[in-house]
Symmetry: C2
Subunit: 400 residues, 2 copies
């Protein structure tokens, strides 16, 4: 078969080979210790209510919006965060990534300015860039964005929408303070910026000392899309997520769902609704969080041993990641990756999480939810050695 002369849509030029895909492929090799991915701990998840998925009534096509039982249960679940929505405002998704695809279709023309956090979720960057967004990054601290910088960007770049992950941000681990949430909502109302608020990690809260009211619930004027996922707490292989949205956006989003895949698979909706309505939900989540706390603390201890002298970080209060900034003048963490992979350790270099990769050169992201304590100990020792070697090479005089 000869190689064809391909004429594709312009957007495919922005569909670059993904560094992240390549790393995850390498990380899946046998014997590799991987801190690279974001796989949750499937062994901490509740058992699937299989009988709820078995009803022959679920064989037939369903509705684009989702099952009434699912939408009702999810509306209650969202309400517990402080964001009050009706079931009519809920759309069942095949994972919350699908909500990013719909947000991009709904909001982004080629060249549309879109505000993100810097750093931000890599697969969100990919889909927004695929649709041609002009990404503007607001610098992010541990308690939320720099508000002066944020307002300056809103005033000068006039983004149509903003994409935020205010709870245990991926990759940085930031959790917006109560005050930051109020301030950001006021700014978005003032500049009429549509908010896409993504909360995959809300239920993986390990130590939280302030209310995490969704920013969507604080908006008075600006429209919003709220994205949620069950993939960190319930069977990610089943691909179950949801969005809730301002009523003015819902009709568009339902049509986008219909055009994308008609509707979300019904057995997964039944299983999630069953769990949401179950007596065991609170216990299941406590058990999950307790397991994550043990792993997070083990990672913190191993990092202190091996990275205490070469990097800075804040212990994450939730979510699945540590975000480290290496000290000193160094080559980019990306350049250390090949050596680390050779030595059997995978991590995610910081550049993947920025629209401008150079902003991430000093950073690396380490997942703590998959490795055993032994793997953490030996994997982090190896990784630290790789970094020290890179530092030595860097500081050695170059041959003339």
């Amino acid at each position: 078969m000869s190689s064809p002369d391909l004429q594709l849509a312009r957007r495919t030029e922005r569909l670059k080979s993904s560094l992240v895909r390549d790393i995850l492929a390498a990380a899946a090799r046998p014997g590799m210790i991987s801190f690279a991915g974001g796989l949750p701990a499937a062994d901490l998840m509740p058992q699937l209510p299989l009988e709820a998925t078995a009803a022959p009534a679920l064989y037939q096509y369903g509705t684009s919006e989702g099952e009434p039982a699912f939408r009702t249960a999810v509306a209650h679940w969202i309400g517990e965060t402080g964001l009050q929505v009706t079931p009519d405002q809920v759309l069942a998704l095949a994972g919350s990534q699908q909500g990013l695809d719909f947000a991009a279709k709904l909001l982004i023309d080629e060249g549309t300015p879109l505000l993100c956090e810097g750093p931000t979720y890599v697969a969100a960057l990919q889909v927004f860039q695929l649709f041609g967004a002009d990404i503007v990054c607001a610098p992010l601290g541990a308690e939320g964005p720099d508000l002066v910088a944020l307002e300056h960007l809103l005033a000068t770049k006039r983004p149509r929408a903003a994409y935020l992950i205010p709870c245990f941000q991926n990759p940085g681990g930031a959790c917006y303070s109560a005050a930051a949430r109020v301030a950001v909502a006021e700014l978005f109302d003032r500049y009429n910026v549509i908010l896409i608020e993504d909360e995959p990690y809300r239920s993986v809260a390990l130590d939280v000392d302030h209310p995490m009211t969704p920013i969507c619930s604080l908006l008075k004027r600006a429209p919003w899309i709220y994205l949620g996922s069950f993939s960190k707490i319930l069977w990610p292989g089943w691909r179950m997520g949801f969005l809730a949205a301002h009523p003015a956006l819902m009709p568009h989003l339902v049509r986008l769902k219909q055009a994308a895949d008609l509707h979300t698979q019904r057995p997964g909706q039944a299983a999630v609704a069953h769990w949401l309505n179950s007596d065991t939900r609170g216990r299941d989540l406590e058990r999950l969080r307790a397991g994550y706390r043990v792993r997070r603390d083990a990672m913190q201890a191993a990092l202190e041993r091996h990275f205490g002298a070469i990097a800075d970080w804040q212990m994450p209060r939730g979510g699945l990641f540590f975000w480290l900034k290496l000290r000193g003048e160094l080559q980019a963490t990306r350049a250390m990756l090949d050596r680390a992979l050779e030595q059997g350790v995978a991590f995610m270099p910081g550049e993947a999480f920025f629209a401008q990769p150079a902003e991430g050169h000093q950073y690396l992201r380490l997942n703590y939810s998959r490795a055993t304590p032994e793997e953490m100990e030996s994997g982090l020792a190896t990784l630290a050695r790789c970094i020290r070697t890179a530092q030595d090479l860097q500081s050695r005089p170059q041959p003339a």
Copy 2:
């Protein structure tokens, strides 16, 4: 909450309220006899292999391409059609509608000329139009397109791609002859048109007297995407489909899958792979087809009784629909819909299936797979009365 001042992407202006959605909503009202939708007969489907979906290994995230077992089983399944593909050329989809979304993202810029059959699948039209395609329709007969008209369109409109449903076309019921398949492949090779071949109904073949070799397998030069669905034979509520593609397109399609929803739910892939590898597959399909044949024949008999004098049609040799052309000078079938719905009968007016709605005014599509014989009898009698009434109104002199 005040109604916001919405700035959305330009494509949302093409995301019109769907006539089809409105009709299906009306058709779902209690007591309605519906010939409108395309719901397959869930009662004829094999039992779900529930135990195959239950493995805790399926809880975790999977790969964007799909499960190896699914891709291998589907590659064999596709091979039985005459199209030889490797598992690497197979991508698991959340239903074949998702393949249309990916084809649109891959191929369509605003204004890209795209060839479709006239009439064609309404939800394909929707997604292609959402992405801004300039739809060009090739007139379709019972055995395939008018080849002279097709070549004229290829030469003058230079479509980048073509979307065809060569087996038991929805809505028209056409099944391309062996000669038409060869001729179309030669034309697409000559004009280097990327073929999107959609085959949701291949397994619902009731009376076929010629090979239905996929056109993709006859192409020598032009790239192609082959879409398949399990929704007509296995549990559509589980949303399982697939695509296979020319090797040059696969890397793009896998990245589009990752950006759209990371991957297809794994338990559904496991269930389908289990069925594809099962001993009962042949018997299951024979039972399904036998059930459809009974319903199709009952519909044909009822149509002959009630529509023999007012419409023309060909009995479908497969698929789920009858496609009727009303005789005489009439108002559009769309205009008869409200009266029919009032009388408790739903159908799909022809205009929904054309890029230029006027081309469909004389047509209506009737699904035969859901109604009981009693519902067919009374529903078609009512519908024929509605049409005769419309004819009488039409032929009556207008008041001065």
